[in-house]
């Protein structure tokens, strides 16, 4: 290894430390400069001195300068203390700490800006008409107004008034929420790819990424992303370069758009559309166009085969998917995802998957159809590596290739999230809220105070529970991929049209008649049977959940015995 020539290793230690010193000097100078600019502009502009429309620019200046200053200081300190930082990053619990910190931080940020929005809405409007910018957008609160409101609650920081001024516009709030969504979406593929590699490795009795980042290679995904960015951008010369580039975006953007309508909790949704479900289905349908174009623009027979198969498969399976989703919609009576999840609150026996046998089976047909729609194994012919090299992805390399997978993992999460909302109770935890409230009052904390809301958010229903459930279904998708072989295209279409479609139609019909009988016509005997079946299904669900838990625990406790000696005995140096 040391015989491979790497350019920087050939430099002597003196030159390297010389570079280091120069870097530290440069970074400190830049840091001091930027922080100075930020400080000066902070105290130079007082409220009332500036026309309101100039505020965002001043804010941008202050924010930008301070952020850059902080970044440069951090960089300087990093270069100075790099050894300690390296040792810290390799500490096992760093990954956990960062993850937990990130989750807590995200929740705090969301809570904080919800509080800020209510505060701004609560301020009384300033007098007179104020308009800003080209289209004369009217606005209600001037900076002085906001500063007055801040003084009223005792916070007398002028720059905060500047910062809060843009937040009165709905558009800016949407942008902030969008930023949050895009942040979350970016984490999903990064985490998902790492997790897939670990899960596949463990199923295959090996370890998976172990080196990059220290604890089980948790930095592997960002490292791969960075590497892929630096790769050469190869575009097949005989293909269509414009469509080649466009295909990636058409595949990658719709799943992100679908997140706009996906609620994470009752109030945690970007737009509570009344047609949210169909919107998400529409977005997943537009992905097909991107995949076809990707194969076509590559001018590669194998890629065209892959995209043709994929189009057949995805479009065919949208039908059983949509029709399976109709069944819980009928139970809830609304297309709004928040309503559907709200109808399942209060304990896991209210979840739609246990409501009647048709919903139960519909859950599984939906899940299988969704697997096919996401092109996941056992339906991953479009990406089948051993037959078509890589199907429609053959000619893609570098970052474009990874963008396809971003879209795929985002779509996997959306599909899992939809299954959770429609069948598995959404963001309600298995424990009903009433029990948590009574537990809280028994312990002495008020259910509406700070700790009460926190506990309820964590235990009774909230975004974390939703993400956990969706992650479990996501995990099942990973699990199935590495267990089952691939199904051939004619068998895939046979299964769709001749097995799943009639089954789903029968379920739909049966569910309609069932609801008619139990809710509208109120047949007593049907209601009795409904109740019995409901509790049988709940029992089955509990048994399955317990079985999974027990098997997982058994495997965890006996993992050394089951796997046997790992074939490769010596560890690589540095691991």
């Amino acid at each position: 290894m040391s015989q491979i020539t790497l350019p920087w290793i050939e430099k002597s230690p003196e030159t390297l430390s010389g570079y280091r010193r120069k870097a530290i000097l440069l970074l400190f100078v830049l840091a001091v400069g930027h922080l100075g600019i930020a400080l000066v502009s902070l105290f130079a502009f007082k409220p009332g001195q500036l026309a309101d429309w100039k505020i965002p620019f001043v804010l941008a200046l202050v924010l930008g300068a301070s952020l850059a200053g902080m970044a440069f200081t951090a960089g300087a300190f990093g270069v100075v203390f790099y050894r300690i930082i390296g040792k810290f990053l390799r500490w096992s619990y760093v990954a956990f700490a960062l993850f937990l910190g990130g989750v807590v931080g995200a929740c705090l940020i969301v809570w904080l800006h919800a509080e800020i929005f209510t505060f701004i809405k609560g301020l009384s409007a300033a007098e007179g008409e104020h308009r800003v910018w080209l289209l004369a957008v009217p606005y209600d609160h001037t900076v002085r107004n906001i500063y007055a409101g801040l003084e009223a609650i005792g916070v007398e920081v002028p720059v905060l008034a500047y910062a809060l001024w843009p937040l009165q516009f709905e558009f800016i709030r949407d942008l902030v929420a969008l930023g949050g969504i895009i942040g979350f979406i970016s984490i999903i593929p990064a985490f998902g790819i790492w997790w897939e590699r670990k899960v596949s490795a463990r199923i295959q009795s090996r370890m998976g990424p172990m080196r990059v980042g220290g604890w089980h290679g948790w930095l592997q995904s960002p490292a791969d992303g960075l590497k892929l960015i630096f790769k050469e951008d190869i575009i097949p010369p005989e293909g269509d370069p414009l469509l080649f580039r466009l295909a990636v975006y058409i595949t990658f953007v719709p799943p992100i758009c679908a997140f706009l309508a996906l609620p994470f909790a009752a109030a945690w949704v970007f737009r509570d559309l009344d047609v949210a479900l169909i919107f998400i289905l529409a977005m997943l349908g537009i992905e097909v166009v991107g995949v076809i174009l990707a194969g076509w623009a590559s001018n590669n027979k194998w890629a065209v085969y892959g995209s043709m198969r994929e189009a057949c498969q995805m479009v065919s399976y949208e039908i059983p998917m949509g029709m399976s989703l109709l069944i819980p919609i009928m139970m809830a009576g609304s297309l709004k995802l928040t309503d559907i999840a709200g109808a399942q609150a209060g304990g896991f026996w209210n979840w739609f998957v246990f409501a009647n046998p048709w919903c139960f089976i519909a859950f599984f047909t939906y899940y299988c159809a969704a697997l096919a729609s996401c092109k996941r194994a056992p339906f991953d012919l479009p990406e089948s590596e051993s037959e078509l090299v890589a199907g429609f992805l053959t000619e893609y390399s570098g970052f474009r290739w990874s963008l396809f997978f971003f879209g795929e993992y985002a779509a996997m999460f959306i599909v899992a999230g939809l299954a959770v909302i429609l069948f598995l109770g959404g963001w309600s935890s298995p424990i009903p809220e009433a029990w948590i409230n009574s537990f809280l009052t028994a312990v002495g904390a008020s259910p509406d105070g700070f700790f009460g809301t926190l506990a309820r958010g964590l235990l009774a229903g909230g975004p974390i529970i939703f993400v956990l459930k969706a992650t479990f279904l996501f995990y099942v998708q990973l699990w199935v991929r590495w267990t089952l072989p691939r199904v051939r295209i004619d068998q895939v279409l046979y299964a769709c049209v001749q097995v799943m479609l009639p089954l789903v139609m029968v379920l739909l019909l049966a569910n309609t008649l069932w609801i008619l009988g139990t809710d509208h016509l109120q047949w007593g005997w049907l209601n009795v049977i409904d109740g019995i079946l409901h509790w049988i299904l709940v029992g089955i669900g509990v048994i399955v959940a317990l079985a999974i838990l027990c098997i997982a625990l058994y495997g965890f406790k006996n993992n050394k015995r089951l796997v046997g000696q790992l074939a490769v005995v010596d560890q690589l140096p540095g691991s």
Binding site: F171, D274, V275, I278, L281, I286, I292, M308, A311
Partner: protein, 164 residues
């Protein structure tokens, strides 16, 4: 804000439509069609007609467009298939275009856009209301459309069957 959104999406739809007509590569025309359909769907969103917008996306962008691109892919040999119109075709097209332009402009300029008897709805109907209307007031057209689609499917399957 609504005005700005309207201008943007109308511009997207128009430019894509021009792209469909101006491009000589069939597949690029199909992609511009996607742009047009998407732009129109966004216009429906601006008009607060959510149901119509998502149906436009599912049926047109996700279904019809996929079919068209599929058909093009199956019958072309390379990504650069194009077509050239003969001079007679161009002349005929220009004539038809002039006639249509005159007709549509007359219509647009002389129509009574404001204060018509049937004022547009103040709020768009909810999904439940649309569903009820489809199954009570407009049941016959709904069923006729379904039967029509069924006939189309059967006809397509019949035409595409293989004979031994």
């Amino acid at each position: 804000m609504d005005d700005l959104a309207f201008y943007i999406f109308a511009a997207v739809s128009l430019l894509s439509a021009i792209g469909i007509v101006a491009s000589s590569n069939i597949v690029r025309s199909a992609v511009c069609l996607l742009g047009t359909l998407g732009g129109v769907a966004c216009l429906y969103f601006v008009l607060d007609a959510n149901l119509l917008a998502v149906i436009q996306l599912i049926v047109y962008a996700g279904g019809t467009l996929v079919l068209m691109v599929f058909g093009i892919m199956l019958t072309s040999k390379s990504p650069w298939v194009g077509f050239r119109a003969t001079r007679g075709q161009v002349a005929g097209a220009v004539l038809v275009a002039i006639l249509m332009a005159v007709g549509i402009s007359t219509l647009v300029l002389t129509a009574e856009w404001s204060q018509s008897a049937n004022a547009p709805l103040k709020t768009s109907p909810s999904v439940a209301e649309v569903g009820e209307m489809l199954l009570t007031d407009y049941l016959v057209p709904f069923e006729v459309a379904s039967v029509l689609l069924l006939v189309v499917m059967i006809g397509a399957a019949y035409l595409a069957r293989t004979e031994k």
